[in-house]
């Protein structure tokens, strides 16, 4: 069934890298063509899957409900998500959930420019569900692996080679101020905090 459009993979990324992914692009002129954010480690993302701690929900809408949710990863970095009338299921989850809670979020990356000219990156959730700690732990290890793979690919790439991966080349061009070292540190930090938690749990 080659005609079936392929579903976009949900990328795994820690909040620090996600919030740096301010560059967006499309790959066709079609109005409905998917919008991608470019992860600084050199991969495009049209969807992400995030599991973390929901720490705060707030209705920030003026005329109608518009819910903001803050989901924190093991490094203490925050994913921001916004759900309004066009995301009724996600909005009602944010309305009903009592923080703190572990949540799994599938959603689309969105960017907007502030009055000060900064670009903020957030998630427009397709679904939010409450999950357990084991699911969160699995996500942390998986996200560490995927992030390390990207860092490794980036490090191994020869940017002078015309056949270099186009998203790595794009990241090199768009994010010249950013260093992959930051994201390696979030991998290490996330895994260490997971080990600390596990050590505490077994000491109890």
């Amino acid at each position: 069934m080659a005609s079936t459009p392929t579903r976009e993979v949900a990328r795994r990324v820690f909040a620090r890298e996600f919030n740096d992914a301010s560059y967006t692009f499309k790959e066709s002129d079609d109005d409905r063509a998917p919008v991608y954010v470019l992860l600084p480690t050199g991969q495009r993302a049209n969807r992400v899957f995030v599991v973390g701690t929901l720490t705060e929900t707030e209705d920030v809408g003026e005329d109608s409900e518009y819910w903001q949710g803050r989901v924190v990863d093991p490094n203490g970095d925050t994913f921001f998500m916004y759900a309004g009338q066009y995301q009724p299921d996600a909005a009602s989850m944010l309305r009903e959930l009592e923080p703190p809670a572990y949540v799994a979020v599938v959603g689309k990356p969105r960017t907007y420019e502030t009055d000060e000219g900064d670009v903020n990156v957030s998630i427009r959730p397709e679904s939010i569900s409450e999950v357990d700690e084991a699911t969160r732990d699995r996500w942390v290890v998986e996200t560490a692996e995927r992030t390390l793979d990207r860092i490794q690919r980036y490090a191994d790439a020869d940017l002078d080679d015309p056949a270099v991966d186009e998203y790595i080349a794009m990241a090199d061009e768009e994010y010249d101020q950013l260093s992959a070292e930051n994201y390696r540190q979030s991998v290490v930090g996330a895994l260490e905090s997971l080990q600390d938690e596990q050590a505490e749990a077994s000491a109890d």
Binding site: A10, R47, V51, V106, S127, D137, R138, A144, L148, V188
Partner: protein
């Protein structure tokens, strides 16, 4: 079927009899033409019938025939890739299912080294029973296709011979692992068309083939597993759905009755399984993996190895 195609078949039959019997090719063409074009009999069946007629006339046995013997191609399960082909197979009966209709004597799964395939044996064919776990040589079975999935039908002309050797059954199932990131429409409590051999899912009480029908309830989940590198679409049938969600068909029906709405069932399932990690195994069907076994991944995960790697880069 065209005159020239029929003539080719007729010449082959003529060839088979050439040593024993003087038969007229035009006569063979006429007989085949009647069967194929007037009675709409498949050509392989028509050939069989015509050959039998001549065998009877000559008082011969089928074994005495020369040249190919009118036999079919011996195929393996994975080779079946077109409907309406007459083939011979050497297979083991992997599973027998309960026939849903009186017209079906036996239905189940046959397998060989290359994989498994569904089979149907009609009641009116009056064939001996197949037993689970035994191996057979099946001659003259017909292939069939439904929505991209192949099966074989045993019919009145099929011969079944039990084998002494056991045909080993290969595993054609695949495994996928990842987070469940979507539950697609058409999941939860659904209704299927009750017409014989039609199991289409109804849309607003209508079957795309049979129109408005009184549907039969079923449970199903069409889900998407995503490991961050690739996505796998998975279908969980009633049994798998119950195992996954803890909601049985009866409970689902009650929930829908209480709420006067069938969508509450999928909503409830969503809350129980979305965002969790699963490992699923089963055969593929088109772009879907049909879950035979599923397991929620809840065990502790080992961070050590990846941490060592992260520190070393």
């Amino acid at each position: 079927m065209t005159e020239s195609d029929l003539r080719t078949h007729a010449e082959e039959i003529h060839e088979q009899f050439s040593d024993q019997l003087e038969i007229d090719v035009d006569d063979v063409v006429d007989r085949l033409d009647t069967l194929v074009n007037d009675y709409q009999v498949p050509i392989s069946e028509a050939r069989r019938s015509v050959v039998n007629t001549y065998l009877d006339e000559a008082g011969m046995d089928r074994d005495q025939l020369g040249g190919g013997g009118g036999g079919n191609e011996q195929v393996q399960v994975a080779d079946v890739d077109a409907p309406e082909e007459w083939v011979d197979m050497r297979v083991t009966v992997v599973e027998l299912w309960d026939p849903r209709a009186d017209a079906v004597a036996q239905v189940g799964l046959l397998g060989d080294e290359t994989g498994t395939i569904k089979f149907t044996k009609w009641s009116k064919s009056d064939l001996p029973s197949l037993e689970e776990g035994k191996s057979y040589a099946l001659r003259n079975v017909v292939t069939d296709e439904y929505q991209g999935r192949f099966s074989v039908k045993l019919n009145r002309t099929t011969t079944i011979e039990e084998l002494d050797e056991a045909i080993e059954v290969g595993d054609d199932s695949v495994e996928a692992e990842g987070a469940l990131v979507d539950i697609q429409s058409g999941s939860g409590l659904i209704k299927r068309c009750p017409e014989e051999d039609c199991t289409r899912v109804l849309q607003n009480g209508r079957c795309s083939e049979h129109g408005e029908v009184e549907g039969e309830f079923d449970l199903r989940i069409k889900g998407v597993l995503d490991d961050g590198e690739e996505v796998t679409e998975v279908i969980f049938d009633e049994e798998a759905t119950e195992e996954l969600t803890g909601i049985s068909l009866e409970e689902g029906k009650e929930m829908a009755m209480d709420a006067l709405d069938t969508t509450v069932v999928a909503d409830e399932m969503r809350q129980k399984i979305m965002g969790r990690y699963y490992r699923v195994r089963g055969p593929t069907f088109g772009r879907y993996l049909l879950a035979d076994e599923q397991e929620r991944l809840t065990g502790p995960v080992d961070a050590d190895e990846i941490l060592i790697k992260a520190r070393s880069i």
